[in-house]
Symmetry: C2
Subunit: 356 residues, 2 copies
Amino acid sequence: MQQKLIFTNLVGKAIDDLVAELGNPQAFVIVDVNTAQYVLPTLSEQSAAVQAASIITIKAGEPNKTLEAVQGIWKSLQDNNATRSGVIINVGGGVVTDLGGFAAATFKRGMRVINVPTTLLGAVDASVGGKTGINFNGYKNEIGTFTEPLASIISTGFFVTLSQQELLSGYAEMLKHALLESSEELAKLLSYSVVYPIFDPEKLLELLKQSVSVKQRIVDQDLTECGARKALNLGHTIGHAFESLGFKRQSPVPHGYAVAWGCVVALVMSHMKLGFPADTMTQFAKYVNKNYGAFAFSCDDYQQLITYMQHDKKNVRPGEICFTLLSAVGEPHINECVSDDDIKAALDIYRDLMGV
Amino acid sequence: MQQKLIFTNLVGKAIDDLVAELGNPQAFVIVDVNTAQYVLPTLSEQSAAVQAASIITIKAGEPNKTLEAVQGIWKSLQDNNATRSGVIINVGGGVVTDLGGFAAATFKRGMRVINVPTTLLGAVDASVGGKTGINFNGYKNEIGTFTEPLASIISTGFFVTLSQQELLSGYAEMLKHALLESSEELAKLLSYSVVYPIFDPEKLLELLKQSVSVKQRIVDQDLTECGARKALNLGHTIGHAFESLGFKRQSPVPHGYAVAWGCVVALVMSHMKLGFPADTMTQFAKYVNKNYGAFAFSCDDYQQLITYMQHDKKNVRPGEICFTLLSAVGEPHINECVSDDDIKAALDIYRDLMGV
């Protein structure tokens, strides 16, 4: 079943319409401490379903995307006698939709879900496509399911309270979608600024629609990531390794930033292996460097980064590391295996390009 | 995707054929301490895939169907650099297939599964139909997924080491399938004895094929238990409550026995609410009493039993308890809500019929 994508700034009404369609089942709203404070009061005013719902609040942030947090949600659902025909409304960023989605997918073997992303990253990525999950034993998203929500309600109204860092983090996934789509889309994004004071919510909603449609089209071909969906992994194998290293250093990096940097390394490998144009690679690296800075590491970290990459879920065989690369903008090639030596060479070039 | 059902006593060959079809991916065998001792050595001789596989051993028995056990499996998979394209071969009873199935369904968002049930209960029920799960916070199968295995390999060769209690436990699910199917099937089962010395593995394999086909036909209509599949819940809402009470008393009862007793209560309710024939109800109760004995409780336990029933996953609304009942053998009615008073009346009649 394909999930509904609803683009609107009348979020409360959209929720009420969906819940009414389901026959007004028992509803639960999952928020983190931030959306509890900044989003929930407004939503409660706008939506009778939210006002009537039981509220489950979790801690904010990636380090809390844990099995312990999931157990807390399961217990709250038990305490409220939740049945499988209830509905869970996830209101928050990627942590809330990943965690709430996993709790919902597994409680009594599956409750229905409506996602209300409140961050740009959530809107363009986590809330769409059915990936749910938690971090486990030091690895990101190691445990989870493919379970599409009933619907995602995508709006830009909540973004005015986001920091520059959060906006840029989401924008990185949009850049990735543009790399997978066409030079025209990429040019559009490279000429727009998601950052204040130029940030324009209406224009952004338009760009978002376009960007999310790239993802949805790919997910519809391959929900469980056996083939085509791996294209969306562009920049992520390396990005996740950067995130794991940042986590280990106790200096976490935002997911979107890691993806932006990971895309730079992926373009370097694409150039090395598939003849991706050097000028586009350089232009992209400059844009990323200017807006996101650079993730710094030395050659002493290479082996650790490679070890993280070996744990990537998309690898086909143990020990072999596979990437999504591009022969050109809009031309993804999945399952490109790269040797450890070539990975190290690409990390060298990345450090040159980014000046680290 | 519908799971393959393979009925054979050449289990090793069937495993090797399936693993070869998958392109010989990395394989993991999950066993419990019993099947590690009694089944694995033989299987290793018969199957190159099993011999080459990494073995993950879990503790045996329902009390070990926990989140802790799942975490142990996840960690073993991590330690062995398992990728999503690996395959998990569950060798054991319902605990192994439920637990191993859940670990597989959620590790890296899903590995493939082959079930090799080694108990009659596993063969006729747990290994078929895609329910995976664990007990949580005192409730049975509270957490899980609907994820069909690639295949179940069903044989009767392993059953010669089963106790009378285990054979009867599996036979109860076959009785349930017969109640859902036809008076002819029910008569066949009531005239066969699964217990030594009359136990005949070849005859049993034939009865099993028939019985499993009832389940598979119903699951194919409705994997995620939105409608038709609830028919399979016959006897289970009450049965699970009996199991929970047994667990609380630290005197656990076998699942199949609980189902057999639960079917008796369901037939009593069916008679009260839907005119199910009293003579068939009495005949069935006598058969169950003779072969399974009776679960004993007093009216002081009624409220606790009702509380357990309120947590049943198949309930439609909080507080309301729904049952699958029969207007006649082969005529299931799902979502029959029964008031607390009527439940208590049915429990009274059960105690009369069973002499407790």
